[in-house]
């Protein structure tokens, strides 16, 4: 297997039936290969079908046409090898931080002894610096902390691909920056293939190896793909004056606000 085609999207179409009997073509003709351990952002205006695309990769939604192939296996439904970090964290509110992660690990790795299970859960609690909050319920911690638990839960089940659906979209910008740092630090230690849906240009450039830019819907598709040739670890402050960073930002800005500008509805 070639590592360059770890995850393949082939000729993906998604249409939704409309009440009037017609069809809404949300996504058309999407072709994309994602390398192993690559971090890819998908950016676009709202309604460009980027979340639909992610849901199809997750298996929570099915494409009308085309194939999604992960590790030479066609995707037919959801599964733990494609862990999802949901925008609204989706922690189970009746379980503590620890129990939320434990539930996932227990299900995906039933062969673990109780001691291995505890070690694994605690390892991932520590990874997102939540040791002090591990016995708290989601209702008692901040939005940023909840999302960190969401990330820890997703990583704890050792996924082949980590799918993040606007993971920091609901957070204020300082918390968002903090979480981006967390994510980059974690990524340095556990190499993972990551797909991030975002509408934040800085976030896309900072985090990604490649930025996939989507055209506007209906009939949204991939418009341009941008390589971000910045060494890691990346420092958000130093990057502000980095010519490559500026080039990438401008390319995305140009795409989103000139070529595919969108009026507010």
């Amino acid at each position: 297997m070639s590592n360059d085609k770890f995850l393949q999207l082939e000729n993906i179409y998604k249409t939704f039936p409309l009440p009037n009997g017609k069809e809404y073509k949300a996504v058309v003709d999407v072709n994309l290969n994602i390398k192993k351990n690559e971090i890819v952002s998908i950016i676009g205006h709202s309604g460009c079908g980027k979340s639909t695309l992610l849901n199809m990769i997750a298996g929570l939604d099915s494409q009308t046409q085309g194939h999604i192939i992960l590790n030479n296996k066609e995707i037919t439904g959801p599964g733990p090898e494609r862990a999802v970090v949901f925008q609204n964290h989706s922690l189970l509110p009746w379980l503590t931080v620890y129990q939320n992660i434990e539930m996932a690990v227990k299900k995906v790795m039933p062969q673990l002894t109780s001691q291995e299970l505890r070690q694994r859960v605690e390892h991932f609690v520590s990874m997102v610096n939540l040791d002090h909050a591990k016995d708290k319920f989601p209702g008692g911690i901040s939005g940023g902390m909840k999302q960190r638990v969401g990330i820890a839960r997703a990583l704890s089940i050792k996924p082949d691909v980590l799918l993040m659906d606007e993971p920091f979209g609901a957070l204020d910008s300082l918390t968002r920056a903090n979480l981006q740092e967390h994510l980059m630090r974690i990524q340095q230690s556990v190499q993972n293939t990551v797909i991030i849906i975002t509408h934040d240009i800085d976030e896309a450039v900072l985090l990604s190896d490649r930025v996939i830019m989507m055209t506007n819907g209906p009939e949204a598709t991939i418009g341009e793909i941008l390589e971000v040739n910045l060494p890691r670890p990346r420092d958000r402050v130093a990057l502000q004056s980095d010519p490559e960073y500026i080039r990438c930002r401008e390319a995305i800005l140009d795409f989103l606000y000139k070529k595919f500008a969108k009026d507010d509805e």
Partner: protein, 268 residues
């Protein structure tokens, strides 16, 4: 502190007004139990008619024979029936409610019958059930079961429907099987709703038992009240009403406490 005082003081004012209104009723309906005589019927003393009484609440535990027992035993018998029918309603109602909530087809199939049977009065069921079972206890139990099961089914189904799509997506990604889905995702969300249903259901059961026992006879608080009517002890009817109300109130508090204990939203 001010609030606490108000909570004690304001009901006291209402009580005084109510007792006053009650006293006045006696002036218009001859022989209507007065508050002071009712107190004596309850706790003993000499009535305005000059009768010396022991009072039904002074010795609720007495047993003369199986047909003549103190109020405590009457209540206990009623409560046994209530909890029997109530337990049966939970055992059947929760699984049915889960199915109705989880499957559109089952919902479509059962909903019309739930809606039609729900408003049927226990008094309408009683003759049929008495004919079918020919036994007082079974009839009372069955009547409570069939009238109190509906809120449990409806609220359980509502609880299942209130499970957010996000939680179900978590279950999908982790590939939960249906049983894991029910126990780890659906039930924790639905439990507070189930308890709301149970609370309503227990309230109904307690309403039903008084009516059921009046018709079935034998023993029980409902029978006791009817028996006092037949014995022309009208004061005791008022005492009976008061006791039924108090016990119903206590049952509701008890269910509320249990419901809070199982409600994850109250733990944060």
């Amino acid at each position: 502190m001010r609030e606490t005082l108000k909570k004690i003081f304001l009901p006291l004012i209402v009580m005084v007004i109510m007792i006053q209104a009650w006293s006045m009723t006696g002036k218009y309906i001859s022989g209507f139990p007065t508050p002071s005589d009712t107190y004596i019927y309850a706790f003993g003393g000499t009535t305005s008619m000059g009768d010396e009484l022991k009072g039904v609440l002074t010795d609720p535990f007495y047993v003369v024979n199986k047909d003549d027992k103190g109020l405590f035993w009457q209540l206990l018998e009623s409560l046994k029936r209530v909890f029997g029918g109530f337990a049966l309603a939970i055992i059947v109602g929760v699984p049915v409610g889960l199915m109705v909530g989880m499957s559109k087809n089952i919902q479509y199939a059962l909903n019309p019958f739930i809606q039609i049977l729900k408003p049927v009065s226990p008094l309408a069921w009683l003759p049929l059930l008495l004919f079918a079972f020919k036994d007082i206890n079974t009839t009372a139990l069955a009547t409570i079961f069939i009238t109190s099961i509906w809120p449990i089914i409806i609220n359980t189904a509502l609880g299942v429907k209130s499970v957010s799509e996000d939680y179900l997506n978590v279950a999908k990604v982790l590939r939960f099987n249906p049983i894991e889905k029910v126990f780890q995702i659906i039930l924790p969300v639905a439990v507070p709703y189930i308890f709301t249903g149970m609370r309503l259901s227990l309230g109904i059961a307690w309403l039903v038992i008084v009516a059921a026992e009046m018709l079935t006879g034998g023993i029980g608080i409902g029978f006791w009240i009817w028996n006092e009517y037949n014995s022309l002890n009208y004061h005791n009817i008022i005492i009976g009403i008061f006791i039924v109300g108090m016990v119903g109130f206590l049952l509701d508090i008890l269910m509320g406490k249990i419901a809070d204990y199982f409600d994850y939203r109250k733990k944060m």
